[in-house]
Amino acid sequence: MGEKLENLKIVKNSKFLSDFVKYRFLLSEIVRRNIKVQYRDSVLGIFWTLLQPLLTTIVLALVFGGFFGKKADGVSNYVIYLLCGRLLYDFFNQSTKRAMKSVRLSAGVIKKVYVPKYMYPLGNVISCFITFLISLIILVFFIIGYSFTDKAVPITPYMLLTIVPIIVLFLLCLGVGMILATTAVFFKDAEYLYDVFCMLLFYATPIVYVLNSMNMNKYVQLGIMANPLYSIISMFRACILDGQMFNLNHLWYSLAFSIVCIVIGALMFRKKQDKFILHI
């Protein structure tokens, strides 16, 4: 019996690779579909990926600018500070939520045809990643716009290094997305709980405020620093706002966190995927 199980595992592993090659077109179709359908029937279409962060940043700047903006010591440009945090948080929020629902929403297919199921959370994270990359254009506009004012952000080659926090963030979203997708199949409540969690996370991440300028309880501050989104956003801001190399501690911490999430997510997903059909 044990030997048989071992054999099965070997077959499964080689199947993983051949499946990925065979179904790579499915992955690109899922990504394409998500992006196309999201903005279909809206007048402005894909422009919403730019307009939405623009408008929400304006709202946040109006609401919090007066209070936190004045306290933002050491931040050269509060609006760009806000926009950086907002864009990265938004990608995390959107992609993990969509990955979470992806398996349940494709129940129709999963119940009828054999498909590698991880394609669904993966495809959703990738499609959100693409819209996120498009939305970065708005950041470029802001940087150019401010370059004519006294709040200009220095344009440095370090800006190219933002690719590092962006990749780490992608890995984090994928790992968390896989964990959530598996959990949501068995407990639908998780979707509602996660909504609340994301709201908490918005405030537990220094998006609208600057961590060092707040008079916070030491433990709360430590808690915020343990949040990998804090490390990733800090890295991103260091490159954009301060024109300098990011703190390497932030990189190692967030990278390790993301990889642990991916490993846990992949193991959970693989172990439970045969049972999905009984629950969706």
Binding site: K22, Y23, F25, L26, S28, E29, I30, R33, K36, V37, R40, G108, V109, I110, K111, K112, V113, Y114, V115, F186, F187, K188, D189, D274, I277, L278, H279
Partner: protein, 249 residues
């Protein structure tokens, strides 16, 4: 000479009936604490074994709840058997409930690619067959209209056209030959027969014994998850007809 295309060996599928009802944390914890989380086992398939040789066409007969759909799902690879193993040689095309992979916001054209991708085909492969699919589905200009505006017949016709445009080695038919109007029905039966001529292996589920006699050469009867008859199609169909009459008495 044995050359099996589908080999089903000692397959059992067991469902835990209660398990499916508990889908929120509160209920789960309460039931766990009060120890009411007892599972009733239900054997949808019980030690089923059979093989289909290449080019053979097997009909699966049985009353509602006999385990036919479960059997097809295990052969299609959607459902993993609790015990036993299923081996399938070659490309398998499930025609289970057509249109399962459609996105209703997508147009017919976009759905052809999405559906093809779901079945594991490449873009190039689908492009080569695109014209054939559109022509067979008789959708004409409607191919550029979102699927949500289609009638159920139009959807089914599109699904059937995509699923049969590819050249599978094993075909699973789940009462799909009753798609569309009489004209399309005749056309689809003709299409399936032309696939038979190319030597495709078929697993066909139906209640309709005349149709099974016409399309298959062997048949099995499932009852409560067990195979109670296996053999030449006419013998088995006679037996099934007798069972149906017996049930009516």
């Amino acid at each position: 000479m044995s050359n099996p295309a589908v080999k089903v060996e000692n397959v059992s599928v067991v469902f835990n009936l209660n398990k499916e009802k508990v889908d929120n944390v509160k209920e789960y914890i309460i039931k766990l604490l009060t120890r009411k989380l007892r599972f009733t086992e239900f054997r949808a398939l019980d030690n089923v074994s059979f093989t289909i040789e290449k080019g053979e066409r097997l009909g699966v007969l049985g009353f509602n709840g006999a385990g036919k759909s479960t059997l097809l799902k295990t052969v299609a690879g959607v459902l993993k058997p609790t015990e036993g193993s299923v081996e399938v040689e070659g490309v398998i095309a499930p025609l289970l409930e057509l249109g399962a992979g459609f996105d209703s916001n997508y147009t017919g054209k976009e759905n052809i690619f999405l559906y093809g991708a779901t079945m594991g085909y490449s873009r190039k492969y689908i492009e080569e067959r695109y014209d054939e699919i559109v022509e067979f589905s008789e959708l004409g200009d409607f191919i550029n209209v979102p699927i949500k505006n289609y009638s159920s017949g139009m959807r089914a016709r599109l699904g059937f056209s995509i699923a049969t445009a590819v050249e599978p080695e094993v075909l699973i038919l789940d009462e799909v030959l009753s798609v569309g109007d009489a004209k399309f029905k005749a056309k689809s039966e003709k299409k399936v027969k032309s696939m038979f001529a190319k030597g495709v292996t078929v697993l066909f589920v139906s209640h309709n014994t005349p149709q099974v006699r016409r399309l298959c050469d062997k048949a099995i009867i499932l009852d409560h998850g067990k195979i109670i008859a296996y053999g030449e199609v006419n013998e088995v169909c006679d037996k099934y007809d007798e069972l149906v009459k017996g049930g009516k008495k």
